[in-house]
């Protein structure tokens, strides 16, 4: 596995260390929000361990992925607010 991984988050391309979760990458990109709630509030990670579903994002076209549970992979395309 390479030490550094490139992922695309919305319109931003960022480099993260191997082992970085998608949720951490989203926050490292300067965003705090992963999704919008049913009434449209911005929401980001809460529990960090796959329980709360607040950090859901779209990963490589798969919607509603718990971003804290998925490690980044090279070339991954992540969409917040999906």
């Amino acid at each position: 596995m390479p030490d550094k991984i490139t992922v695309k988050i919305d319109d931003t391309t960022i480099v993260v260390l191997a082992g970085t979760s998608v949720a951490a990458a989203i926050l490292n990109s300067g965003r705090a929000k992963a999704r919008r709630s049913v009434i449209g509030e911005a929401r980001g990670p809460l529990c960090g361990m796959g329980i709360c579903y607040e950090c859901r994002a779209s990963v490589d076209g798969v919607v509603h992925v718990r971003s804290c549970m998925v490690p980044c992979a090279d070339g991954m395309v992540i969409e917040t607010d999906a």
Partner: protein, 420 residues
């Protein structure tokens, strides 16, 4: 129909309890399985930190590997379609696992209590923020308030400091008198002394007892928090808020299997056996006690589930000592009633369905609230708001139904019972 894998002993959860249970369940000739829904073994406390495996986990996984037991990560137990069978879901689809004995080591999650602003991005759990830093979140130079209750506050404040975070507030709701008493009780646990002294030296001076966060605010993310302290209310500018009030057991799989519980904790006998004969439970689901109690219970469960009850009984004294430690934790850090008053009518209580406290003022039980407001019916299935509404309104958490986690519709298509 998915294929069925067979195990003599199947362990769910590869944290301290589960690793210990799996290792102790191996007799040399039986088939032991170990699954976990996280990307790596170690549970929450021994989650890999920025790519580095915790030494104890590395050693345990290597030992298990040597005897042919592979930790299968990324597998969530979603259903128990038949006695002796678990349905598990991974990124790649559904599988069925058959077991003779099952050991549940499903751990705990943080207790979140609602307050105005707790839904803002960058307001998260204490273990929650630590988990994110462990998985690569960069907090260097970030201003962070750590609040809530329990020894984890100190451990996480210290961890954040070591990763160049700026801890600008550390608020513990427990009364100073209780904390002092807890400190004294620690004298009976020499293995905790070094850790306690190190944490005290690192962040102890920042800790404010009898203090809690009453509000967080900001335009699109946390920009400030207000805390109530014995000296009055103060407002602190920050970029992250880490706030949680200890832990609640993750008992859903046990409840689905029909195991008896008391106050949400799975009831077990001397040998960690639940009310279901071939189902054992170890670690936090039986009582919040931390890593030492978890590994001890895992050991007892592993030995008992593999037919070595005499050996299991030799460990009971050790378990009793750590159970006393757990009882001390419970009395010291129990959330104070004033925390119920933080919620305003506009405060969202159920985050999945955006149900406000105002809408929860008329239902008289959790079931009525579900029916009228969808409280607890979102993707987390009440895992976050359930413990909160129990604390706020005394509501019991409702029944547990499969699937335990949201699954793709394809996983339901072949979910009829099997007799294979």
């Amino acid at each position: 129909m998915p294929e069925v894998e067979k195990y003599d002993v199947l362990v769910v959860g590869a944290g301290p309890a589960g690793l210990s249970a799996a290792f102790n369940a191996f007799t040399g000739s039986n088939r032991v399985g170990l699954i976990d829904d996280n990307p790596a073994a170690g549970g929450q406390i021994y989650r890999p930190s920025q790519g580095k495996t915790h030494p104890w986990v590395g050693m345990s996984v290597a030992l298990l590997d040597k005897v042919g037991i592979t930790v299968q990560c990324g597998l969530s137990a979603v259903d128990a379609p038949d006695p002796g069978i678990l349905a598990v879901q991974s990124f790649n689809g559904k599988r069925l696992l058959r077991y003779e004995k099952l050991i549940l080591c499903t751990g705990a999650r943080e207790l979140f209590l609602p307050f105005p602003g707790w839904t803002l991005p960058n307001a998260m759990g204490v273990g929650g923020l630590q988990a994110l830093v462990k998985s690569g979140l960069d907090v260097a130079g970030r201003r962070i308030v750590v609040a809530g209750s329990g020894p984890l506050l100190l451990a996480v404040a210290d961890y954040l400091k070591k990763h160049d975070g700026l801890v600008v507030g550390l608020f513990e709701q427990a009364p100073m008198a209780s904390l002092k008493q807890f400190g004294l009780s620690m004298l009976g646990y020499p293995s905790k002394w070094m850790q306690g002294l190190a944490l005290g030296a690192s962040v102890g001076r920042m800790l404010r007892a009898d203090s809690w966060v009453v509000e967080a605010g900001g335009r699109s993310r946390v920009e400030w928090v207000k805390a109530r302290t014995p000296k009055g209310e103060e407002q602190i500018e920050c970029e992250y808020l880490a706030c949680a009030y200890g832990f609640v057991p993750s008992n859903e799989l046990a409840v689905l299997l029909g195991c008896a519980t008391r106050n949400g904790f799975v009831t077990v006998d001397d040998l960690q056996q639940t009310s279901i004969a071939n189902v054992y439970c170890a670690g936090e689901p039986t009582g919040i006690g931390g890593v030492d109690l978890s590994t001890t219970e895992g050991r007892i469960a592993g030995l008992a589930a593999s037919g070595r009850e005499d050996q299991a009984r030799s460990v009971l004294g050790r378990r009793e000592r750590w159970r006393q430690f757990a009882a001390n934790l419970d009395t010291t850090f129990a959330p104070r009633p004033e925390l119920k008053d933080l919620v305003t009518p506009e405060t969202i209580v159920c985050r999945c369905e955006d149900v406000t406290a105002a809408r929860l003022s008329s239902p008289d039980c959790g079931r009525a609230a579900k029916l009228h407001t969808r409280c607890g019916m979102g993707p987390c299935q009440g895992r976050i708001c359930g413990p909160a509404t129990k604390f706020l309104y005394g509501w019991d958490q409702g029944s547990v139904r499969p699937p335990l986690y949201p699954v793709p519709i394809a996983a339901l298509a072949d979910s009829e019972p099997t007799n294979g």
